[in-house]
Structures are given as C-alpha cells and as structure tokens.
C-alpha cells in the first residue's frame, strides 16, 4: 500500500472509572490504534466495550487514566475543532434554526488569508508580501475568522448536501429524527475538521432513514475522503462504510481484531449483496456474537 499519513495514535490507553466500593470499572484496557489519513474506521463491539469512551478520548472530552492519545504527535488535552464530533443525540441547539445551527460550526474557527494593506496613494487595498528564509517573495498570511457571508455560504452548501434546503429556517423541534441527524451531519461537515468522529449517529433511526443516511455519508466521504472514526453496533453498517473495522471486546475493553475491508468504493446498499461483503459480515458477526455469548449477555443453555 502507498504511504499512509498517521493522524491519530492511541498508545496503550487505559481508562478506569473509579467506583466507591472498589470494583473499579475498566472501560479500556491498553488500547493501541493508529488512524491514518483518509481512513474510514468503524468500531464495533458489544455494549460496554468502551467504544464511546475511546471516541471521547480522541475527541478530548475525556482523559485516559494512563497511556496517551495524540493527533499529529500532539497530545490530545481537550476538545477542538480539528476533531468534529457527531453525536447520537444530535446535539442541535434548539434555539437556533437549521441554518444557524450549521453556521455555529464555523463561528470560532479561523482560516488563512493573504494580508492586505491600504495603499496610501491610490486608497486601494493591496495584498502584502513578505520574504521567507530563502529570500523569496511569499504572500503574508494571517489567520482570521470566517465572515458572516462566508459562514452562510458554507452552511448553505452542507444543508443542500443533506437535502434540507427547504428547512433551513426551521427549528430542530419541527424536524423528524432523521432530519435532525442530517442537520448534525451537515454541521459536522461544515466544521471541516481534519477528523470526523461519529458516535452511533444512526443508532436511533428507523431502517429506511438509516439506509438513506448511510448512502449520503458514503457519497460525501467518497468525495472528500475525510478521516472518519465511526462507532456502531450494527455489523452490516460497519462493513458497508468502513475501510477498516476494529472489533472491540467488552470488560475490559480491548481491540479484539482489526479487519481491512477490501471492497471498492463507491459502495451502495447493493454492495451488501456481494459475496465478499457477506463473508466479512459473517466473520465479524461470528466474532461479535461469540463475545456476547461468552459474556453471558445471551443465555445459551
């Protein structure tokens, strides 16, 4: 395979939740994982295997008890706009319309533009240049917030992408669950973070809506190839979306198996009919089901 750029490194991460009367809950027990650029990683595993904890650690919402998570070698100390999160509970601001919700994503981030300076003689704004270490003339860049107009344009693009143009002035309470999740996805994309973390985003949706949103997500990902870290408990979903599947085991949460899904993109729901898809699916299902049985979640008398 060609050179892959390492983005996130999970290095022997342990997470222990202290419980008052001893019996501390070990959510993650020494997880190692490298996430490369343009990967679509899906994490599956039984409930209680620490999937969400792992996502929260990458997202900076929780700190590991030991070990560390880094992004481009920098230790993850808190949440930041380089790692967008799409939550299962949508997390839309109920007091903002669809458009304003998506615009919120670009409110605090900055981008680089060439500095300009007013020419005193002509009274016109002119770009500013500087010289780099090699003595070449290079544009002088400065970091600025997006203007309101730019933010509106960005919001519009992603609202159109999730086909909610007709609803941009509605409040979240006026939307169905699937539409709310589409707004959340639009907002996640509008942030244009390097990595997108998705925490069971389609978990609460009906089967039809879920299929639709899976396809939407695939189309978008195929276009931008943004690094995705997607948590699910749906085996079909993980094979359909992922370029790499991480199977985790529960109590203590550990990486059980890593599987490269060698199915070409673009994928559609029809991909599910391919024999290779079935093979992956059956294999993952076996591993996950076996863990359920072993953990006693299913009584197999």
């Amino acid at each position: 395979m060609e050179d892959k750029k390492l983005v996130i490194k999970i290095d022997n991460v342990k997470k222990i939740y202290p419980v008052e009367n001893g019996n501390d809950v070990v959510a993650l027990n020494g997880v190692n994982l490298d996430i490369y650029e343009n990967e679509f990683i899906c994490v599956v595993g039984p409930s209680g295997c620490g999937k969400t904890t792992l996502l929260n650690i990458i997202g900076g919402l929780e700190q590991p008890t030991s070990g560390e998570a880094t992004i481009h070698g920098r230790k993850i100390l808190g949440p930041g706009p380089d790692r967008g999160i799409i939550f299962q509970q949508y997390a839309l601001f109920p007091w903002l319309t669809v458009k304003k919700n998506v615009m919120y994503a670009t409110k605090f981030i900055k981008h680089e533009v060439q500095a300009t300076k007013k020419n005193k003689e002509t009274g016109k704004m002119e770009p500013v240049f500087t010289t780099d270490e090699n003595g070449n003339q290079v544009p002088l860049m400065k970091r600025v917030h997006y203007t309101k107009t730019e933010r509106e344009a960005i919001a519009k693009k992603y609202i159109d992408m999730v086909q909610l143009g007709a609803f941009e002035n509605k409040y979240p309470k006026e939307l169905s669950g699937g539409m709310k999740q589409r707004v959340a996805i639009a907002r996640g994309y509008a942030l244009n973070s390097e990595v997108l973390l998705l925490d069971e985003p389609f978990g609460a949706l009906d089967a039809q809506t879920r299929s639709q949103l899976q396809e939407d997500l695939l189309r978008t990902w195929e276009k931008e190839r943004k690094t995705c870290f997607f948590i699910t408990h749906d085996v079909d979903e993980c094979v359909l979306l992922a370029s790499r599947v991480i199977i985790m085991s529960a109590r203590p949460g550990q990486v059980k198996e890593v599987i490269n899904i060698d199915l070409p993109y673009p994928r559609t729901q029809a991909t599910k009919l391919e024999p290779k898809f079935q093979e992956y699916r059956n294999h993952i299902w076996d591993v996950v089901y076996k863990m359920y049985v072993d953990s006693g979640s299913i009584n197999n008398k």
Binding site: P79, P81, R83, G84, A91, F93, W95, Y104, K107, F108
Partner: protein, 312 residues
Amino acid sequence: MAKKETKPKGWLKEKLTPQFVKDYFAKREEEIAAVDLVNLSKPVNDVATSGPKKMKDFSLWPGWKTALVGVGGVIFVIIIWWIYAAICDATGEMSFLSSPVGVCEAFYEQAIASSNLWRHLGSSLQRVIVGYLIALVLSIPVAFLMAWYKPVRAFFDPFIQFLRCVPPIAYVPVVVAIFGTTEQAKYFVIFLAVFLTMTVTIYQGVRNVDLTLVKAAYTFGARDRNLFLGVIVPNAFPFILTAMRLGVGAAMTTLVAAELTGTSIGLGYFIQSQGSQLIMDNCIMGILVLGIFGIIFDKGLLFLEKKATRWK
C-alpha cells in the same frame, strides 16, 4: 373493644434470627420454582376488545369554546354572589357583604367620579415595579453564579431555603424595625419575595442545560465565554421568562404585606383599611382591581414568552 395483645419487648429481634431470614427466602425460592408455568392459565384478554370506558376527549376543543366556559364560569359565580347578596339584603343578615352592583358603584365613585383609586394604584404599582426590577437585576447573576460555582450555591442556599418557608407577612415587623415606615420597606418586602422566586427558577434553568450541547460547543472551538453566551444563557432564557412571570405573581401577592409596613396610600392599604372599616364595596373592588392588574401583567409576559421562545 378487646385489649390489644402486647408483644414482649424485643420480640422482633428474637424472631428475625439469621436462620429465620435464610429459611424464609429459601421457602420463597421453592415456591417460585414450584409454579407450574406450562399449565398456568392465560391472562384474561376480553378487556381489550371492549376497551375501558374513555373520558370525552376535549383536546380538540376550539379556543372560543374554552373561552366561553371561562367567561361563563365567571358570570355564573357573579350571579350566585348577586343572589346571595340579595338574600342577605332581604333578610337583613350579613348585610355588610356587598353585591356586584355595590362594587360597580364603588368603582364609579373611586375611579371615575374621583381619582382616588388611581392614586392608590399608582403608588402600589411604583412599589411593585421598583421591587420587581431590583429583584430581576439581582436574581439573574445570583442564579447563574449559584449554578456555576458550588461555593456560591453553598452560601446562598440556606438563606433561600429558609426564607422560602417564611410568609412575607411574618417578617413585616422586622422590616419595619430595620427600614421604618419608609418606601424602602415596601420595596424590600416585594424585592425579597420576587428575588427568592426568580432565583430558584432561573437556577433550575441554568442547571438543566443538556451536557451534550456543552460538549458539542466545545468541539466547535467555543471557549468558556462563548459557551456562557451561546449555550448557557439561551438555554436558561425560557426559565428567565417563566421566572419573570412567577415574579409578577409573587410581587402582586406580597403587595398587601408590603403595605402593612405603615402607609396611608396604596392599593394594599386601601383594601386593608376599607375592609377594617367594613366598607366592603370598596374592599372587594380593590381586590378585583389588584387581581385584574396581576392578570394583565401575567398575560403580557406570557405573550412575550411565546414570542421569544418559538423554538421551544
């Protein structure tokens, strides 16, 4: 009645030996295991087909019907009052209870023929507004600080819990002792009642913020300051409006107590003095005016609340 048999002291301790408890639960286990689930008769299902008798569903009632019942109820009570007053008048008993006609006459005398009522109402409204505004301005930061910082909460909580249980009329003498019979005394009584109500409500609103929204804001790069103005305040906003409505209620109901701190003007004073002189026409008229103004304020704020929280 036969004398109840008294059990010897410590009988419970004697009976509840570890062995007894163990045997008891073992017996229960046996009983549960012995239930013949196969031949257990099925639940009776004929209830669902006939269905329980339902109450009439009024949820689709049009607004005018609801209004009609409300207005009709008020007219009904006035008629009953009128008849009762007429009977009392005819028999000569309890003749000091006024009739609706008497109240209307009193209103004409006090509000149209003279400006007596408006004078009283004016100074009462001033007290309500001043006390209310001070409470509004102070309760918002206090409630936010209480919700945000545990030490602030620990400091204010005992005072708030204590004062919430004491009716304002009880601390009137103390207020007089501190402020005398000044206007400040009236402001203070109203302020205290409104402040307590509003602080508790707004505090709940701040605390009730959905933590996922806070997390989401952080992932978009929001700092604490952005979080406060962009998430915490809008989230608490409906609660602030509800608190403002509850505050109006508290202000209006405390007005009479406030004007017990010694005054010769004000609607509360008017109601009290006319009542104690048995001029019931004026007294009831004053009560009605007080209540109607309360309703007007409440509806006004309700209207604003609906406008401002369309997203809710």
